[in-house]
Amino acid sequence: MKKGVVFTLGLSLLALTVLSLSITLSSSRDGMESLVYDLVAMERVYNNYQSAASDLRDLVLELSGIEVTVNNNNVLFTEQLPNPQGAIFTNAVNKYYTFSLNNTVDTQLSLNELKTILPLVIESQNVTYKHNSFGGNQIQVRQNSGGVQNYTIIIEADENITNCTYDFPAGNNTLGVTLQLTGNPGNCNDVNYADLAIENNIFINEGAIEITVLAGGDLTIENNFADSIEVTTRIYLIEDYDTVNGVYLPYGLVESSLESYGMVKGGEVQVA
């Protein structure tokens, strides 16, 4: 009789042990299930973001007419000024916005700045190459934290270059400005240093091309000739190579979200 009780109790204890292990396993699965739901949502949000970001990068690289090259300590932007691709690019961005609105409900685009001034940001120096109006006659370089040590501006103009006037008042002249202009005929080649406390200017053909280094070190290049000129703006950065991450479209152009999970993915889109 005693043996039977011991046997029954032993078997019951074994079964209860198995049951408690199963309950533990099951509850840990509940946690994993929630984690996997989150992973699925994150995968969707991430890929929706990447898809739109990749499309915008393609639009910029294929249609903007701007060639971007990242070197060790400098970045080159080459384009025609005014840029003949301006209207084409703007139209393509508008169409992409409509397309995205109809086909990718979880992706939000904010493309107004992209299509109007096409800003390209050098990171991590936070130097922005942009336009007064993309397709217009002015290029602007804005440095927010003094990341530039030299501008080299290479211009090819199919114009008769008759005079180049440099206005770089004496002071604490630290920012290098190199101009290499090839006309047809005529040219200007000179190196000057700008005082960041005041405005400095280069006038070509009495202002047909005007290069301005504003107080603070921002740069403006304006073409008032009737025809386009080719402008290469080489921006030498103060930081060394390790901190030049590349050239990006600004933060906030693309956001992908899943509201039910409270997930939002945004970021900068790298173009070079």
Partner: protein, 142 residues
């Protein structure tokens, strides 16, 4: 003596019943099929990866369905099936107009383990956009 035998047998039967009941319940907990969520993640990830590879290699841009199918089969794991649908739009006189539809892969199978994702890409002709393309994929276990 005979009664003792009955009691013993009854006791054994009751204890076996209790033990089997407990083990059966434990078994349902262990074999819970929530593991399928993990499979959904793996399938979704595979679907997005394949779509990205096809885009990055210019395969989708070719709009050649047999080439796309061949490329999918070369990278898709043998235990999955994938269907891809691409709808193309073009700017016609200022409006986006659907100009093409392409489907690749078997009909979508009604399977418990099935998932679905979307992507987009743009094709170019010279310095103009040719088409804006919306991709949908379905992936499931064979």
């Amino acid at each position: 003596m005979k009664n003792k035998g009955y009691v013993l047998t009854l006791d054994a039967a009751v204890s076996v019943f209790i033990v089997l009941t407990i083990l059966g319940y434990a078994s349902t907990l262990v074999n819970d099929s929530r593991v399928t969520q993990w499979s959904e993640y793996q399938m979704l990830s595979t679907g997005y990866d394949i779509t990205t590879v096809l885009k990055n290699n210019g395969v989708l841009q070719s709009m050649n369905d047999s080439f796309i199918e061949e490329s999918i089969n070369s990278v898709l794991s043998g235990n999955y099936e994938l269907r891809l649908e691409v709808t193309s739009y073009r700017d016609v006189d200022g409006s986006l107009v659907e100009v093409g539809f392409m489907d690749v892969g078997p009909e979508v199978k009604e399977s418990e383990l099935r998932t679905h994702g979307r992507s987009t890409y743009v094709t170019f002709a010279g310095n103009l956009v040719d088409t804006y393309n919306a991709v949908e994929f379905w992936i499931w276990l064979k």
